[in-house]
């Protein structure tokens, strides 16, 4: 319940204040969102597995977002930003699919 309240609060706040992203951070926002998505699906799977832990979720969320942005930032500095962000998206995408498959098995037992 509290999770849904958190989500709704985030959405409402985002829609109301429509924060302006600094121009320098703008390229990292999509990658950060994908990394956050991975952390959230991981947490949902852990929750269904009965392994969920608040602290682990917070740490994994922050570190995921931070590391993904850092990799892309480094890639930009080295001139391979596009390739590295593709790599990050592929790896996170595979993880997301694997986690969603596990979640699906939990919910539908299939």
């Amino acid at each position: 319940m509290i999770a849904i309240i958190g989500l709704v609060v985030g959405i409402v706040v985002g829609l109301i204040i429509k924060p302006d992203v600094p121009i320098g951070l703008e390229p990292y926002l999509p990658i950060a969102v994908v990394a956050a998505l991975d952390a959230v699906f991981g947490a949902l799977r852990a929750f269904l597995d009965g392994l969920f832990d608040d602290k682990v979720f917070v740490v994994s969320f922050i570190s995921n977002v931070f590391i993904a942005s850092l990799i892309v930032f480094l890639g930009d500095k080295l001139g391979v930003g596009a390739q590295l962000s593709t790599g990050v998206v592929v790896v996170l995408g595979i993880r997301i699919f694997a986690n969603v498959a596990a979640i699906r098995r939990h919910i539908f037992h299939a």
Binding site: I2, I11, V13, L29, P30, A46, D54
Partner: protein, 271 residues
């Protein structure tokens, strides 16, 4: 283990299992509920996602606005250029008229007026009227390749031959040749004065109609065209006209102009 199977197998952070093991080891009850921090993190996640979405849609709409603004600028600039071109043309016409009026009003400069009109005729700026020949050149019947078509070099030869034969003014499909005209290929069409022409090419040459055809036939260009007719089948016909009207060229594209030195009576120096 390959990279992809590894990612698949370790999709879930191992920390969750580790934390659960530690809790079990220390005898604490497993903490399965989503707590305040988890909810706060979810709020951050939602905020992040919404921000990215808002930013993307805002960017795309501002991109579109920029594109429209650029298109508008280009259109405005084009209209401006058109208008100024028209102004240039009308000013030039006015200039020519005033010049003639001025020169005609002064008896001293009547000779100058003749010179100016002769130069205008020769340079292609003023319209030309008079007898001459009409030449029609065309691709070979059923031409399949450039070999059987009239090329820019063929037209250049033809025009040079006509000049050599004593033509005083030449136009191709209504485009008057000036001292600055070019005849060249642009894509698949021949352009004269940067205007694309379509076949057949109708060349009007003002000059002595008794001598023009024979002198042209004697010139190397005339011989070359005879060859072209026989070898690749280009069509060529020439007949005389008692009176033709050739238009003047609009705007001479002046590339380098400097105010003349008034003391320089010899007429030399840059023009």
């Amino acid at each position: 283990m390959g990279l992809l199977p590894y990612i698949n197998a370790h999709a879930l952070d191992e920390d969750y299992a580790e934390a659960a093991r530690q809790r079990a080891g220390s005898g604490q009850p497993p903490r399965r509920r989503i707590g305040r921090y988890g909810a706060a993190m979810l709020a951050v996640f939602a905020l992040l996602t919404i921000t990215a979405a808002v930013q993307t849609s805002r960017d795309s709409s501002s991109d579109e606005q920029e594109r429209q603004a650029l298109i508008k600028q280009v259109k405005d600039a084009k209209t401006l250029v058109d208008r100024e071109n028209n102004q240039v043309i009308s000013l030039q016409t006015e200039n020519r008229r005033l010049q003639q009026q001025f020169l005609a009003s002064n008896s001293d400069s009547l000779g100058l007026l003749g010179e100016v009109s002769l130069l205008g005729l020769r340079s292609g700026l003023s319209p030309a009227t008079g007898p001459g020949v009409e030449v029609v050149a065309d691709d070979a019947a059923g031409a399949k390749s450039d070999r059987n078509r009239v090329l820019d070099t063929d037209l250049q030869k033809l025009v040079n031959g006509l000049w050599q034969a004593g033509a005083e003014a030449i136009s191709i499909n209504g485009e008057r040749l000036t001292t600055l005209s070019s005849i060249r290929h642009a894509g698949s069409a021949i352009t004269v004065n940067y205007v694309s022409l379509r076949r057949p090419y109708r060349i009007l040459a003002v000059g002595n109609r008794q001598t023009l055809p024979s002198r042209f036939a004697d010139s190397t260009s005339g011989q070359a065209w005879l060859d072209l007719q026989q070898e690749v089948g280009l069509r060529f016909s020439m007949h005389t006209e008692s009176s033709m009207n050739l238009p003047g060229s609009d705007v001479p594209q002046l590339r380098y102009v400097e105010a003349g030195d008034k003391k320089d009576s010899t007429g030399k120096g840059p023009t």
